[in-house]
């Protein structure tokens, strides 16, 4: 059965996959309400109601599981479903009475419902040890460990003042929006590349490798026996693995010195305050698979301190801005070290260039 090989035809038009209620009310929605944890209702100008149930998803999904999602969608949602920008799965129906059936069906296949409104939703994450060469930690494993501990903030059992976004990236390339999350989990290498001098000139172009380094730590060099390779200045190397991306002969993976750093206070939305970068909270916690207990306990402390003191809608970064960074480090029992003080290009703008000081912290 010959068929004509096509290219450049792009994705199918979404209209093929819109539930009827959405087709009927496209662009005519009036308002929404959160019915209960994990369940939204959107009401259109004509009064039509569409209920949305958001099911947790671990993102890494086997085809069999997708078929189970399809079974639920066929049974309750006219054969349509969608995924969210944070890879949860959403089932939509105009029949309010089907909401609880959908929730039960999801529970039966191990997928709790939640993450809507003032809640912690799924953790945006990347490949980790499952698939990426430059990862300094695993992604799916850390996500599973953390979400198991904070599930009550996801499913509404523990209400919190506003949204709290957690993201993970397994190296400094930071796939995802780790640089703008309330809490960011970042895999870090803490050793310079273990350069394989015999391979560098074979596998890579030295000028490209030298240019790839953000801190100009790489210089071309020639060994006694004439092999052309590169040399890394240990003082300047920041373990970003950019050289490794451009040249496989410069691996950074190391079981004892790879680990996780934690960042706080980032935000993407424009609500109230402008979009903000995440800031360093904990520079290094060694990898401790499978449940990274030190990582999860510190994240829980930060969530608890924020949630008991934040105003309604107040994101983590807005809360810290209000109480001051000294109080954040103090309450979350995190030691403020050399590494917290910036020394990169815009360092000066991060210093406290004012006499503004709360007294609490330096009462000897």
């Amino acid at each position: 059965m010959s068929f004509e090989r096509k290219t450049d035809f792009g994705p199918p038009h979404y209209s093929r996959f819109l539930p009827p209620a959405i087709k009927a009310n496209y662009g005519k929605w009036k308002y929404h309400e959160i019915v209960k944890p994990g369940v939204l209702v959107h009401v259109s100008e004509s009064g039509d109601k569409l209920f949305t149930v958001r099911g947790a998803s671990g993102r890494l999904t086997a085809t069999d599981k997708l078929r189970m999602f399809c079974d639920i969608a066929d049974k309750h949602c006219d054969g349509f479903l969608r995924f969210t920008s944070r890879h949860n799965v959403e089932f939509m129906t105009t029949h309010e009475e089907r909401v609880d059936d959908i929730i039960q069906a999801l529970a039966d296949i191990g997928h709790p419902v939640g993450g809507i409104g003032a809640a912690i939703t799924s953790i945006v994450h990347t490949q980790g040890w499952v698939h990426c060469h430059s990862s300094a930690t695993d992604a799916s494993g850390v996500v599973k460990a953390v979400m198991d501990e904070v599930i009550e903030y996801f499913d509404g059992r523990k209400p919190i003042p506003g949204k709290l976004r957690i993201a993970l990236a397994c190296c400094l390339n930071m796939c995802g929006a780790v640089h703008c999350s309330d809490i960011a989990i970042l895999g870090v290498h803490t050793r310079p590349p273990a350069t394989d001098d015999t391979q560098v000139n074979k596998q890579c172009e030295i000028p490209n490798v030298v240019a790839a380094c953000p801190t100009a730590a790489i210089r071309p060099s020639t060994l006694e026996d004439g092999t052309r390779t590169v040399e890394v200045d240990q003082e300047r190397c920041m373990f970003c693995a950019n050289c490794f991306t451009v040249c496989p002969a410069m691996p950074l993976n190391n079981p004892t010195t790879d680990g996780i750093s934690l960042w706080v206070g980032g935000k993407v939305s424009n609500a109230r305050s402008k979009p903000t970068f995440s800031k360093l909270a904990v520079p290094f916690i060694p990898n401790n698979p499978p449940r990274w207990p030190e990582v999860t306990s510190k994240i829980i402390t930060m969530i608890e301190e924020w949630s008991k003191d934040a105003l309604p809608f107040e994101r983590m970064g807005e809360w810290i801005e209000r109480i001051g960074w000294p109080a954040f480090f103090d309450r979350c029992e995190i030691e403020f070290t050399k590494q917290h003080i910036d020394d990169f290009k815009h360092a000066g703008l991060s210093y406290n260039r004012s006499a503004h000081l709360r007294r609490a912290s330096y009462m000897d």
Binding site: T7, Y14, K30, A62, D148, A271, H346
Partner: protein, 390 residues
């Protein structure tokens, strides 16, 4: 079944378990079985065992397939190759169950049976297959009318929030614009020709539910120009449960609202369209009717100059209207020309703009400098004065 005690630990607990997923796939894929064992080894040794991909792809395309080779193929032969295929998702990530089931059947036959629903850029990621399977998979995808996404120095797969499909705050048709742009730039998507990657993202309002300002070289964020639509009765209703003074009026970034206990007055000339008051009272307030979007540019991850957010380029354009849509495409293509000519290797557009200077960049693409583009004017005296020939 092999012995994976560490991973088994992660089958417990309320959050969906990726280990269960791999085991499910392993039932009918030796590739997934090897992946499971390899991952257990990583958990034991605390390092990953993947090698960087080289030359993989489908005929005629320069992107969409990420080459992956296990570092120790002798012990894990079935993941000697473990390439991933990025499939361009339907706008808004909507699916029909038949389409999904068809993809699953194809993937069980030609790959590991594991997917990422979805990748951070937005693609439906088919996780793990061999080089030989790439062409047959693409043939199947053609039949299913699902093309491959982007990777490398190309236009990456655009993505958008669910917009007008289900949200009353959408200020433009994010899904239609995203689809139109994806179709219009298929050549740039499938045949990498840029100094580095280029990402489009479309959010229907300043809540930015697809993180466009943080993760896209060009970010389309919905906004409006007329007054916030206000239903006073509904506001009074919210006043019963919501501390409107403390939690809404005093949190407005431009303090342009007054609340005297029963009437909310908004000075719409000073509203900076942050969405907070609307978020807090969805039944009482809504964005205006005169809607469109702002266009910002330049976001990227930290390497190598430090992370960047997109910054304001075009405050307001009615992107849903053909005329404005054409004008925007023209500007984008002009930017691609300049960036391709003068951009350095691996230099994102955000880094390019800062290197050549935002003013020079604006001049090159014919945009007037306006104060909306800056948080504040320069505070250093190193002004460049044009040297007229005197």
């Amino acid at each position: 079944m092999s012995d994976t005690p560490l991973l088994d630990e992660l089958e417990k607990g309320p959050w969906p378990s990726f280990v269960k997923e791999i085991k499910m796939a392993a039932k009918n894929s030796a590739m997934s079985q090897d992946l499971l064992d390899l991952l257990e080894k990583s958990y034991r040794d605390k390092i990953g065992y993947w090698k960087h991909g080289g030359i993989v792809g489908v005929m005629g395309y320069g992107g969409g397939v990420i080459g992956r080779y296990v570092a120790i193929p002798e012990q894990y032969p079935n993941v000697r190759h473990f390439h991933t295929i990025r499939v361009n998702q339907p706008a808004g990530w909507y699916y029909s169950t038949d389409a999904l089931r068809a993809i699953c059947d194809m993937w069980d036959e030609h790959g590991s049976g594991l997917t990422n629903m979805h990748g951070s850029t937005g693609d439906l990621v088919l996780l793990g297959t061999t080089t030989e399977e790439l062409e047959p998979i693409f043939d199947e995808l053609i039949k299913l009318e699902f093309d491959i996404g982007g990777s490398g120095s190309d236009v990456r797969t655009p993505s958008c929030c669910l917009g007008k499909s289900r949200c009353e705050w959408a200020c433009f048709d994010t899904m239609e614009v995203c689809h139109k742009i994806t179709m219009q730039y298929q050549d740039e998507l499938h045949r990498p020709a840029f100094p580095y990657k280029w990402k489009f993202k479309f959010s229907g309002c300043p809540n930015d539910c697809v993180a466009a300002i943080a993760r896209a070289d060009i970010s389309f964020i919905g906004t409006w120009r007329d007054d916030i639509q206000q239903d006073d009765a509904a506001v009074a209703e919210y006043a019963k449960t919501l501390n409107i003074l403390r939690d809404v009026v005093e949190r407005c970034p431009s303090r342009c609202m007054e609340w005297n206990g029963d009437k909310l007055t908004i000075d719409n000339d000073n509203c900076v369209h942050c969405m907070h008051c609307i978020n807090a009272m969805p039944k009482a307030l809504a964005p205006g009717k005169d809607r469109g979007c702002s266009i910002l540019m330049g976001a990227k991850a930290p390497i190598i100059e430090g992370a960047m957010l997109s910054s304001m380029m075009i405050p307001f354009v009615k992107i849903d209207e053909e005329e404005d849509y054409e004008a925007v495409c023209e500007i984008v293509e002009e930017i691609w020309d300049i960036w391709s000519d003068e951009g350095k290797n691996r230099e994102r557009i955000g880094e390019f703009i800062e290197r050549v200077g935002k003013s020079n960049f604006l001049e090159a693409i014919g945009l007037e400098p306006i104060p909306e583009m800056v948080a504040h004017p320069r505070d250093n005296p190193y002004i460049f004065f044009e040297q007229e020939e005197d």
